[in-house]
């Protein structure tokens, strides 16, 4: 009986961990993608109507994205292969610096790459039979 309880506990922990990692990954990725979309809009906006306040706001949002990544990076390192998230981390690290320097083009490219990587991570946790086989 004791072993049956151990088996049930272990399966429950495994399933819960799987579901938790799936849901949490989706939530974090969606959160960051929506922030990236906002920053991209600002990026485009500054190209059309440049002013100091917009640039300051632009920089703050990139810094905010960076901070959100810092908060959630431990989660990602716990569940994902380092190679999958290394590039994402590098791009996010560089973003505030490029924004501060007013390097809009590089910032835009970084944002696009970040978004692609986040979409990739989000899709990699989806449960579908293509992933299984």
């Amino acid at each position: 009986m004791k072993r049956v309880i151990i088996a049930i506990v272990l399966i429950s922990v495994s399933v819960y961990t799987g579901i938790y990692s799936l849901n949490e990954t989706k939530r974090i990725c969606n959160n960051m993608i929506s922030r990236i979309d906002t920053i991209t809009e600002y990026n485009t906006d500054i190209l059309e109507n440049d002013n100091h306040d917009k640039r300051v706001e632009f920089y703050k949002k990139t810094q905010n994205l960076h901070d959100v990544w810092e908060e959630n990076s431990k989660f990602f390192y716990f569940f994902f292969n380092n190679d999958d998230i290394k590039q994402l981390e590098l791009n996010i690290e560089k973003l505030p610096e490029h924004a501060k320097n007013g390097d809009l083009e590089t910032t835009y490219l970084c944002l696009v790459e970040c978004k692609e990587e986040l979409e990739y991570i989000k899709n990699s946790v989806k449960l579908n039979f293509d992933n299984v086989f």
Binding site: R3, S14, N81, D83
Partner: protein
């Protein structure tokens, strides 16, 4: 390197606990499914040791699932004979009255050399001495010799015997094993009296064996 060391320690403890929970010690006694699980456990455990970029959770979760599957398998096997036959197979008779069952050998894909080798490991050098030989589900061979080739027992030679009961270790490395005292129905005070008579301190004892009649054997620490 420090990461690798910590991972090895965690995985070692985890896999040891896993094998302990599965309830087998000797690899030779494993059923087919248990052998598979043990091999897979070692595979999963080694993955994050080889590559530090792979999260530890990628090893821990599969190990947990494997233990659970094995426990579920063993519980169902206990309740259902049909499932047990499918999962573990059946023991097969391969020698009857000194004659090899060649059909069974073909079924098992055993050669005659395999059978003779297994018999020799059971100290049987002549197949004609064998009454029955059975291949168990874990691959070992059980042998029953013909009566005239079996060793004589005390009953056969009509020798009187006395029952000394079961000899049990009661002190190992200076520590009294209470469980074994209960088995022999002996108290701690009896042990202490025996040690006092032999002028030995409990802490000096490396091994102390005793039987029901209080015949003791003491080995002191060097």
């Amino acid at each position: 390197m420090l990461t690798t060391i910590i991972r090895v320690v965690i995985l070692y403890l985890f896999v040891s606990a896993a094998i302990r929970i599965m309830g087998k010690r000797n690899i030779g006694e494993l059923q087919p499914t248990e052998l598979v699980i043990t091999l897979l456990l070692s595979e999963f455990a080694s993955i994050p040791i080889e590559d530090n970029s792979i999260p530890l959770i990628n090893s821990l979760i599969p190990v947990m699932i494997l233990i659970s599957l094995e426990i579920i398998n063993s519980v169902i096997s206990m309740k259902s004979t049909k499932f047990r036959n499918i999962s573990d197979g059946n023991a097969l008779l391969i020698i009857k009255d000194g004659k090899l069952d060649q059909k069974q050998l073909k079924k098992l894909r055993f050669t005659v050399d395999d059978v003779l080798s297994a018999l020799r490991q059971k100290d049987v050098f002549d197949i004609n001495e064998v009454a029955y030989a059975i291949i168990e589900t874990n691959g070992t061979l059980s042998v029953l010799l013909k009566p005239k080739f079996q060793n004589a027992t005390k009953q056969d030679v009509k020798v009187k015997t006395k029952n000394d009961g079961y000899t049990c270790p009661v002190i190992i490395d200076g520590v009294v094993l209470k469980k074994n005292l209960d088995v022999l129905e002996i108290n701690k005070e009896d042990i202490e009296k025996i040690l006092e008579k032999k002028q030995v301190n409990k802490k000096q004892v490396f091994l102390m064996n005793i039987d029901k009649n209080k015949n003791t054997e003491i080995i002191l620490k060097e």
